[in-house]
Symmetry: C2
Subunit: 351 residues, 2 copies
């Protein structure tokens, strides 16, 4: 869990690190509205094994007469973010953030203007940017995600996320969330579950917008985390400065380890979409009593994206869903959610 | 924040690490009961500056018409535990736990029976035990707090805390909680505050009983934390094994750093009792808007204990409250709570 900052994963390097939102998803965020008993709690889902399993889990764990009843304090639900509750293609949103921040960093430190990799990023040459090495990306991460106090960082992310837009849909990133997953979150919360993010992305970044976009309070965001250092600013005010030191690499085995560090209990239900979520699902469904693991399969190139390489889908290297993971899911009863077949709508703005 | 396991503080070595409860404090734990508007929300407190400041803070931050109003999601209250919400003398409860666990450890590993420091602990010779070195205590900590999976550890603490008793009062440790602080916690929660522990003690230990004793859910316990390692038991079940590797030293500057890691926001109000809490109060009261820091002064040897060395009280090395801390409190408006003068009752079982 504790690793050096150098890592082999682009998201870890850049994403392990920042975000905030003024978004305006059409779905009501926050409170726990009562569902009429007869209403479909997951209206954007077609009838499918995943939907049935979620509803069955909620019913059996919340009915006091059920042998699998779980008291409220044990009702823990965890969600991966990138590729599980919002779009992760063609590039992680946090990576876009870091690249976008370079201009401001160079404005503050003009001596970086002619220095690589900042020069390439400033050129706007997408082909050249796509070829940046991990070492380049690490320099960008350090420049854009560290050295400031945590509240300055939060304000920077808040400003960015309010204005930045995804190129394909021309909408704020915070609108590119999956309506069916929002419904699953609300349904779980309506039934006494606490919903958590457990993301490979940066927890400081996700905490900025999680409440507003997903109804998840910042303290329920577990993610990759850089260390902070306590100190004082020029006015003598106590501050925490973000440092280029990875405290939690919240991916693969780091997910259950991060869950223990920040939650302290084994989840009852966990949602993911890639090999980075495998250990979280393993940990969750190894628990006694009712448990459920689910994996989103991106098999809908028309409405979103298609990638695997499971089931012959293209291997895009981001959000990898391998044939081995698919086999393990089948063996262990983890439900694979086909975006194409199982979801009526993908986004809140879909008709 | 990230340090090697070797440390100069006895609590860090032993306490940085374990607990659970079936306690039966007479105060209702958990839910948010509505207070009749006219009732005194802090009935076990005499009129004093600390009480007035707590009530004033709650009123000004929860009245929507107040310029210092804080929305519910920003209402964060943090409490140190040892010496702030329960007794820490003559020895931290977690240290007692570790010493008590030695017998079981030796039962499982008989080869340790004749080996120091286990031999001395098994002898029951209090004078000899009191002379154990930090290196000895570290060996005891490693033997009693690591190597098992986290759920086994929780069960061990739960069993112990249900049965162990403090020598002076002949009561479970979980009854030696300060009634006025329970009232402060309930009052804050009744007004939309989330209450957190931020303890130098082990978060895995405190999480076992925090809900039952204080109404604080396990995920709202921030404390010193050992790392865990993801793996599988003999039956193939995914487990997390406790390791002798300190991930969070939640003391002094580690307190605000731990607050950022696990909560992600600057507290509005913070309670402590020693130099280990100074940075948490500094961080809290450096924030904009209404903020409050408070320190419990142990000046009541008849009803509890007396130690400082501030104000001429004896220096007992545990829960140190220095003259410098006392001066800083006066200068910065942190309220010092005199247990003798400000509290009508100390414990829930007091008449």
């Amino acid at each position: 869990m504790i690793k050096k900052f150098h890592g082999p994963d682009r998201r870890l390097v850049l994403g392990g690190l920042v975000v905030l939102p003024l978004l305006s998803v059409t779905w009501p965020t926050g409170g726990a509205q009562a569902q009429p008993a007869a209403a479909d709690p997951l209206p954007s889902w077609n009838d499918c094994p995943a939907k049935a399993a979620i509803i069955d889990l909620v019913k059996t764990t919340t009915d006091p007469a059920s042998p699998k009843f779980i008291p409220v304090e044990g009702r823990i639900a965890t969600f991966d973010q990138d590729g599980t509750t919002w779009v992760e293609h063609p590039i992680y949103t946090q990576v876009v953030y870091c690249l976008d921040r370079v201009a401001d960093v160079v404005k503050a430190k003009p001596e970086l203007k002619g220095v690589e990799p900042f020069k390439t990023v400033l050129s706007g040459d997408r082909a050249a940017i796509a070829k940046l090495t991990l070492k380049d990306l690490e320099k960008i991460a350090v420049a854009t995600l560290t050295g400031m106090d945590v509240e300055t960082f939060q304000a920077q992310v808040a400003t960015w996320i309010e204005n930045a837009k995804d190129a394909r849909w021309g909408r704020p990133y915070t609108e590119l969330v999956y309506q069916p997953m929002l419904e699953a979150m609300f349904y779980l919360r309506d039934n006494g579950y606490k919903t958590y993010f457990v993301t490979g992305g940066g927890q400081d970044f996700v905490r900025v917008y999680a409440q507003r976009v997903y109804g998840i309070p910042r303290e329920q965001v577990v993610g990759s985390a850089l260390g902070v250092k306590f100190g004082h600013d020029a006015q003598g005010k106590a501050v925490l400065i973000k440092e280029p030191r990875l405290v939690l690499n919240d991916d693969k085995a780091g997910k259950p380890e991060g869950i223990h560090l920040e939650i302290g209990a084994r989840p009852v239900i966990a949602f993911g979409n890639s090999v980075g979520d495998r250990e979280m699902l393993d940990y969750t469904t190894s628990g006694a009593g009712a448990r459920l693991g689910l994996l989103v399969l991106h098999d809908d190139p028309a409405r979103e994206y298609a990638y695997g390489p499971a089931r012959g889908l293209p291997d895009t290297k981001i959000g990898t869903f391998t044939p081995a993971l698919d086999e393990e899911a089948a063996k262990r009863g983890w439900k694979v959610i086909s975006m194409k077949q199982d979801w009526k709508r993908i986004f809140p703005f879909d008709p």
